[in-house]
């Protein structure tokens, strides 16, 4: 057996009292795709940051190709043949592809010779790995998928033998993700080693050779992918059995609650983001809006939530809602029976510096039942917050703790507790499980389904197709501000939705019963 491409022995790292990595040992064989999976805060990113020289481990050793290697900074990591593709790209937006590639690797004082060499090298790489990008295109004109290719090219240009990708598919359409994995396959064939960090079980199952599971800073298992199952991995991640599918009965939709006609939204920069959509949501159903981020879904939620202006008509329970000016703010929307779990809980749904108990009335601070004369009934709010946190299993159940000190999943539970317990007629819910760990996802999905079963209307926006497919009763796909299609969630699949998400409305080739056979393992969405 050849020496492992990377071997970590006993890596530990603490941030103050938090032990982010505890005695982690892992060995990655060359020419394989090795997945690392774990909940948020399990220590995946910390481990990779140690490997890339951003953090210094408190203890432990790193071996590259059998050689003990010190990695004090990212330059050393690059010299050791490690390349990293971050979740948030580190590209200079107004530079060309070529300029970005040589950035930090220029030779000599003048750029010309570097650029010329890079152009040749880039052509070579493109041929070898099928990584086609126009070298003279400016980054900001490239699609997200192509920007990611530039990141990969940057690493390869620096002679990376080991490529680390951190949540690479979070921002990609399904088609772009497929292309990415084809590229990764090709890289593996050429003998490169790939470490894939993700929380998506499906990607792990489909594309990796081996997988390591992290939980609470520890490496709980390393297994051959072929010998494991999604359920087993989820259990290893969370430490208990997890229900990966949403447990729900078919919906029984009632009267129309929300009726949108010809809605248009123009953003602050004057760009039209929603281009005339019609949509209804009935009582007792979950309508899921699928689409790649940035195709108008956020703006739709903002108008419905009362913090962006729009034109067109929206009726709620038969009453027309104003779409701009007075009476179109968040307070008016709440009064109309709309609750809103916003897409970005940290910037919108919570005041991070406020204590949890203060956040449990955020947006409802005018409610008469929490006033005590001129003052707010802080004691009452606190007591109620304690009970809410119990009911929604917020951990730790300490109302005094500032919102920023809770994990993503528990922050989301605080928002959900607040919005759901208002007993709204319509719940808007954006990216309900973004950055939320598997254990909490199960709970959050169950709460949403419970609300539906009480006969409430729910409008769900998510960029996670699996989530839409498993949670929604009806799926509406948005592309470039338009609705490109509507499907019954029980009779569609990822391929079909993927085409709609890319703006292709002719999906007869992949619709269920026609071309869905090759994809049969994916009909029941795993993961939540």
């Amino acid at each position: 057996m050849t020496a492992p491409a990377i071997e970590l022995k006993g890596i530990s790292k603490a941030f103050g009292p938090v032990q982010a990595n505890k005695d982690i040992s892992i060995s990655v064989q060359p020419g394989t795709i090795h997945g690392i999976i774990g909940e948020n805060g399990a220590g995946k990113s910390t481990l990779m940051s140690i490997l890339y020289g951003f953090y210094k481990a408190d203890a432990g050793e790193i071996f590259i190709k059998g050689q003990k290697t010190l990695i004090p900074d990212s330059q050393a990591a690059i010299r050791a043949g490690i390349g990293m593709v971050f979740q948030h790209f580190k590209l200079v937006e107004n530079f060309t592809v070529l300029e970005n590639i040589i950035l930090g690797a220029e030779h000599g004082a003048m750029l010309n010779s570097s650029l010329g060499n890079a152009r040749k090298e880039l052509k070579h790489l493109a041929e070898e790995y099928g990584l086609n990008v126009n070298p003279d295109e400016v980054i900001e004109n490239l699609s997200v998928g192509h920007q990611q290719r530039v990141e990969i090219l940057k690493a390869l240009y620096r002679k990376a033998e080991i490529l680390i990708l951190d949540e690479p598919t979070g921002v990609l359409t399904p088609a772009e993700a497929d292309q990415l994995f084809r590229i990764l396959d090709r890289l593996r064939e050429e003998g490169k080693t790939i470490i894939l960090i993700t929380h998506k079980l499906r990607e792990i199952m489909e594309y990796t050779d081996t997988v390591s599971v992290m939980r609470r800073g520890e490496m709980t298992a390393t297994v051959k992918t072929a010998e494991t199952s999604p359920e087993h991995l989820a259990e290893l991640m969370v430490g208990r059995k997890v229900l990966l599918r949403v447990d729900k009965t078919p919906s029984e939709p009632g009267a129309t609650v929300l009726d949108i006609k010809g809605l248009r939204v123009v953003d602050e920069a004057g760009v039209e983001r929603v281009k005339g959509i019609d949509l209804t949501v009935r009582a007792g159903e979950i309508v899921g809006i699928a689409g790649v981020a940035g195709n108008g879904q956020s703006e739709l939620l903002e108008v419905l939530g009362g913090f962006a202006d729009g034109t067109g008509t929206i009726t709620m329970n038969g009453e027309s809602l104003p779409l701009s000016g007075h009476g179109a703010d968040g307070q008016a929307r709440r009064a109309a029976g709309i609750s809103h779990v916003p897409e970005d809980r940290q910037r919108e749904g919570l005041i991070m510096e406020f204590a949890a108990w203060e956040n449990t009335v955020f947006g409802y601070h005018h409610s008469p039942e929490i006033q005590n004369g001129l003052l707010m009934d802080n004691k009452g709010i606190y007591t109620e917050a304690e009970a809410k946190m119990q009911r929604f299993d917020v951990r730790p159940p300490d109302p005094k703790l500032a919102a920023k000190n809770f994990s993503g999943g528990n922050q989301q539970k605080i928002v959900l507790a607040r919005e759901i317990e208002r007993n709204p007629d319509l719940l808007l819910i954006g990216q309900p499980t973004r950055g939320v760990d598997i254990g909490a996802i199960e709970f959050i999905h169950q709460q949403v389904v419970n609300l539906r079963d009480q006969g409430k209307a729910i409008l769900l926006v998510s960029v996670e197709l699996e989530e839409i497919l498993s949670l929604a009763d009806r799926v509406v796909v948005m592309f470039d501000g338009h609705i490109t299609g509507e499907r019954d969630a029980a009779h569609t699949n990822e391929k079909e939705l993927g085409l709609l998400m890319a703006g292709i409305t002719d999906t007869s080739a992949v619709a269920n019963g026609n071309g869905g056979n090759e994809n049969s393992t994916q009909e029941v969405p795993a993961d939540g």
Binding site: G330, H340, M352, E358, G363, L375
Partner: protein, 364 residues
Amino acid sequence: MDKMPKWADIVLIPLISLFLAAFFSALVILAIGENPIEALKLMVDGALMRSAGWGYTLYYATNFIFTGLAVSVAFHARLFNIGGEGQAMLGGLGVALACLYIDWPHWSLAILGASVGAACFGALWALIPAYLQAKRGSHIVITTIMFNFIAAAILNYVLVELLRPVGAMDPASAKFPEAVHLPTFQDMFSTEGSKLFRGAPANVTFFLALAACVIVWLLMWRTKLGYQIRAFGHSESGALYAGISPVRITVIAMLISGALAGMMSVNTTMGESERLILNSTEGAGFIGIAVALMGRNHPFGVLLAAILFGFLYQGGAELALWTSIPRELIVVIQALVILFTGALDNMVREPLEKLFIAMRRRNA
């Protein structure tokens, strides 16, 4: 989990910062050839060891409480109100008009009337920058600074052209009538046998300032309005989501801020000079920024910081009086205090946090 206990955050860090500021002040005093220990003794003697010294210290502190509260209220809405100086100047005009043109039967009514006048004028002066910020996005730091100059010019004009009694040479209003003279600490606390606070300007306005601390605390942490101001200050996007109007909160927070700054003039104009003079604010509007910074924008912290700065002001005056240390040195000392408690906060905080974490780990 918080990185260190609350008492360390609130008490220990300011104390260490103060000690550092004192240390460097001592170096400066040494450098100009004076004895820092003697200087400190003189300052403490002059400001704290006699009741008259306290009378001055608390007089200055009263000003700083008002301006400190003003800055901190605006700061909770993440608005940096640098215009306390101008708002206080115009507040003085409000005090003067209330005192000169209304026939008050008793000082207790007059102080209420003057407070309303001061608050209204101060708030009005904050309203314009607030509106420009909220509606037009004109940066409040720039506009409030400009408004300080405009306020000074207006006050100059009003005093010279309108309020100056016929025949008077200095740009000041007429003396306020006897009925509106506020009781000083000397009037209030002296007994037959012993005269306390002799000649010191501290007056009943100090208690008004204490009441303002309590009211601001209630407002910020116990009312809907305070809740909305703080929420807006932490996150504008969050405020929008919750249906809190940024325009409304910006304007209201600045009105309160301006009113508090204006009320400082009750102390200086009605309590001390008993007529409206030029430059009665003496930079207290700017000291308010330091006081709010050091007091962590909490009314209790503002109170303590205001007393500290009152001590520095009074002690500094003593230094200038009895030694060859120039009056300007006290500005240096104040600057060092601001530097260490405000700007270099993290220099003390980070090592201290590490220390606490290390201690906790050893105990665990």
